[in-house]
Symmetry: C2
Subunit: 211 residues, 2 copies
Amino acid sequence: MKLYNFFRSSAAFRVRIALNLKGLAYDCVPVHLAKGEQKQPAFAAIAPQGLIPVLELDDGRRLTQSMAIIEYLDETHPQPALLPADAPGRARVRALAQIVACDIHPLDNLRVLKYLSRELKADEDARNGWYRHWVRLGLQAYEAQLASQPGVFSHGDAPTLADCCLAPQIFNARRYECDLSGLPRVMAAFDACMSLSAFQRAQPSACPDAE
Amino acid sequence: MKLYNFFRSSAAFRVRIALNLKGLAYDCVPVHLAKGEQKQPAFAAIAPQGLIPVLELDDGRRLTQSMAIIEYLDETHPQPALLPADAPGRARVRALAQIVACDIHPLDNLRVLKYLSRELKADEDARNGWYRHWVRLGLQAYEAQLASQPGVFSHGDAPTLADCCLAPQIFNARRYECDLSGLPRVMAAFDACMSLSAFQRAQPSACPDAE
């Protein structure tokens, strides 16, 4: 498998974690988002949407959208499971993942920050305020969900799809100096994640294209 | 079941479609987002995140996040299926749904438009430009995906999770007068959806709380 990757993309980071948790080897193909390589013809031919990550399977088929990719990996390589066996548990894990993947990250990714700057003339302070606002709101919601059930990770005592999404978001939050106070369960889940080699080896600084 | 609903919420619209496709009856509990009812203590006790939809099951359990809710409904009421049986098909349908639910809608929902207006002082033209930009980019990506395979709906000849997400997005796009030209497969899928009673009965104007 080939992962079209940018070391700093948190959506790609989610997939790197899932691949590592499943013990699946992959080749990393760097696409430098900050330099706009996703808009070059070479990558546009591969992924017309110009978004990272894309997972190319050995049969040439290409999968897009990080959560869809991780569910595919979970269905085709069931162990260790990244979703619980029970429907309510699965709904909870997916909802947690979607707090990050639908309510936080889409607002804070690079193309949006660029739009704020170029089209809406938002200065650095305004962009940082925007970034921190959505991270804070989303992580508080995540914390409230975690507080309702015990467990070391986001759901129980093993990492799930939710943790694949949470950990990269905490990296981003720290990079933008977001307020991470008052989030004891979120930060405990993050620490539990980062104690695992699968998460450590997936982090931006461990990528071949890291700067 | 009870659906905490706002007639104009496209995320709630997705769940209404799925409930109708599954033939599941539900009570509609209106939460008026434009009047800020989601921030009132009554709803905050139900959903700390203050987001619509919330599906309350008969056992009192509450599910959040529209895609997670629809997958739960599909797992617990398998017929008619809203996801294909094969893993690559499931990945494709989820990726399509996520183009809407991760790449378009989070940028264009009410709380974001309010932030643009209040915090970034974006005027109506700037907000409309923002809205249309993300809709157009996302729908073009959706179109490119559809063009790669035959089918009347987003995936094959029956509605799936992807169509549950697409149809509400087209309603929103029309409301904001977005450019929908050059999207033949997308609009054909939308028309196929709206030929079905399950979609018709879920549309905003058919909601008990419609204005």
